[in-house]
């Protein structure tokens, strides 16, 4: 019985460690860029207030998306401009060999094409979600760290910054 108790404890520590390390790795080794956002604000019952971040690169308007399936993995190549602001350059089903790109999943495969990148939630202090939503309506950016394999994590939000 005691061995099994230690097995359970090890599983817990390994899972927690993996979650922390993989996130920390993205934050420390990834390339930092700013993505323009437009949020909406729901509430997660389990984890308090958060804002849903909808990026400019989440909607890709002029795209013939018929050959893409819902939930299919896609890679969005980004061009980084002044002040590290990144914007959409191209979309492909295969991983680009060079340049900065972010991995996403097709959410809606009809026009306009919608893609999610796993960086759409941002947790905030309780009862501050609404206020943040108002502040995010203009000139708001998310500082995002992107790894070489395309996985990304939000570092922080940059508010009221006109570039």
């Amino acid at each position: 019985m005691k061995q099994l108790v230690w097995v359970i404890l090890t599983i817990w520590i390994v899972i927690s460690g993996f979650m922390i390390l993989s996130s920390q790795l993205t934050l420390t080794t990834g390339e930092e860029v700013l993505l323009k956002i437009a949020p909406v604000d729901p509430r997660d019952l389990l984890r308090g207030d958060y804002v849903i971040l909808n990026y400019d690169i989440s909607t890709i308007p002029n795209r013939d998306s018929e050959y893409l399936k819902t939930n299919e993995t896609v890679y969005v190549k980004l061009k980084v401009g002044q002040n590290k602001i990144a914007s959409f350059e191209s979309l492909s089903k295969v991983k680009p060999k060079k340049g900065l790109f972010i991995k996403g999943k097709v959410k809606r495969n009809y026009r306009p094409l919608t893609v999610t990148y796993g960086i759409e939630s941002y947790f905030v202090k309780e009862k501050t979600g609404r206020e943040l939503e108002r502040n995010l309506r203009s000139n708001a950016y998310a500082k995002v760290s992107i790894r070489k394999d395309g996985s990304a994590k939000v570092k922080e939000l940059v508010l009221n910054r006109a570039f």
């Binding site: 404890l9 927690s16 979650m19 308090g48 958060y50 796993g118 947790f123």
Partner: protein, 390 residues
């Protein structure tokens, strides 16, 4: 038992002092059992409340930020993880090593199974993982499910079932969200999977109490879906691509049920045959739903037949096997079914005050009848077991 003591006294089998001693012993035993039950209930409710407290504490980010303002993010996680592991290990020591507070120890183990989920949620919160994701639920499930078997704990088993159901629903929403009409099948498939799991022979033999939990938790979504079906005007599918994966799931469940049937040593058991037949009938019905468009009358008829059969079976087998959980399930199904039908037919045709009074009186009468029947059954079972002990 007290009646029997009186009879023995009247027959001269025991003396007055022996009768008094026996009655006192019985009262003391009953008191001890009452205390034990209330202790278990208090510990379990306490553990669940503390667990919920930890989750809401984490949900209310500002509390965490205020208290741990000076601490780094990783330190917060390590602190909560260490606390969770400590509670778990403490529970183990109290229950299995020192054995001085076994009930409290079990409650600590249940508490740690909730707190580990809160720890994962905290990690998700700190690193802004996408909310409402199935991965969190499945990781939590993997972390606590073995505990249910190691400690034979029904509460952790039920927690695992809840996590499984929520995880599957989230997974569906993440992966097949746009195919809304397929969602109709998800509760059926979850329910049937849980029922099949409850019928796994090795589980039935060694963890019978878990087996019943799977079956009961599996029957609930199936019953609710039949109730919903009885209100639908039509049911037809236009052959989306996901229907193929749906058929694959149905075939997999059929195979699962077949494996259970072939591995079962007591295959001639009437109940087991009935259960196997029930699973295949619903699987067949799901295929029919995909292939043929059902109109309102066909849907109403099918749904009501299944609802009534499920209620009748729960009561029939509940009384036959003297199983209170099955009887309670049958009662819950019956009351829900009657309320739904009563609102459906009574609301439009009855005066509103008569509608509520009549409904209330009928429910009270039904409740009284079922309670009386359950009490008689429990009394009979108790006397039987006492007779066996004597």
């Amino acid at each position: 038992m007290e009646k029997r003591i009186k009879q023995w006294l009247e027959k001269g089998l025991i003396s007055a002092s022996q009768a008094e001693a026996l009655t006192n012993d019985l009262e003391q035993e009953a008191e001890r059992l009452r205390k034990k039950r209330s202790q278990i209930a208090l510990y379990t409710i306490g553990a669940i409340l503390v667990g919920l407290g930890v989750i809401t504490f984490i949900a209310a980010n500002d509390w965490i930020l205020k208290i741990f303002l000076m601490l780094g993010d990783i330190f917060k996680i390590i602190l909560l993880l260490a606390l969770t592991c400590g509670i778990f290990y403490g529970g183990y020591i109290l229950t299995y090593e020192k054995k001085n507070f076994p009930k409290l120890g079990k409650a600590f183990i249940v508490l740690s199974s909730i707190m580990i989920g809160a720890t994962y949620a905290l990690i998700g919160q700190i690193y802004h993982f996408n909310a409402n994701n199935s991965a969190l639920m499945f990781v939590w499930l993997i972390s606590v499910y073995p505990m249910a078997f190691i400690f034979r704990d029904r509460a952790i088993n039920v927690l695992s079932i809840i996590l499984f159901i929520i995880g599957v629903v989230f997974w569906y929403m993440e992966n097949c969200g746009s195919e809304n009409d397929i969602f109709f099948f998800v509760p059926f498939l979850i329910g049937l999977f849980l029922y099949c799991l409850g019928n796994v022979p090795i589980l039935k033999k060694n963890y019978n109490e878990f087996s019943l939990s799977y079956k009961i938790c599996g029957l609930v979504p199936i019953f609710i879906m039949f109730l919903i079906l009885s209100y639908m005007k039509e049911l037809s599918f236009n052959g989306p691509a996901l229907l193929i994966s749906l058929v694959v799931f149905i075939i997999l469940l059929a195979v699962f049920n077949l494996i259970n049937y072939s591995l079962e040593s007591d295959r001639e058991d009437k109940l087991f045959k009935l259960e196997t037949g029930f699973i295949y009938t619903i699987l067949l019905l799901l295929i029919l739903f995909i292939v043929y468009p059902f109109n309102e009358i066909a849907l109403k008829l099918t749904a009501n037949i299944f609802c009534i059969s499920m209620i009748a079976s729960a009561f029939s087998f509940g009384y036959k096997f003297e199983n209170v959980r099955l009887i309670n399930l049958g009662t819950a199904f019956l009351v829900t079914y009657l309320l739904v039908r009563y609102f459906e037919y009574g609301w439009a045709y009855l005066n509103k005050s008569i509608f509520f009074i009549l409904g209330g009186v009928c429910l009270i009468a039904l409740g009284y009848h079922l309670e009386k029947k359950k009490r008689d059954m429990l009394k009979g079972a108790q006397e039987k077991s006492e007779g066996g002990e004597n």
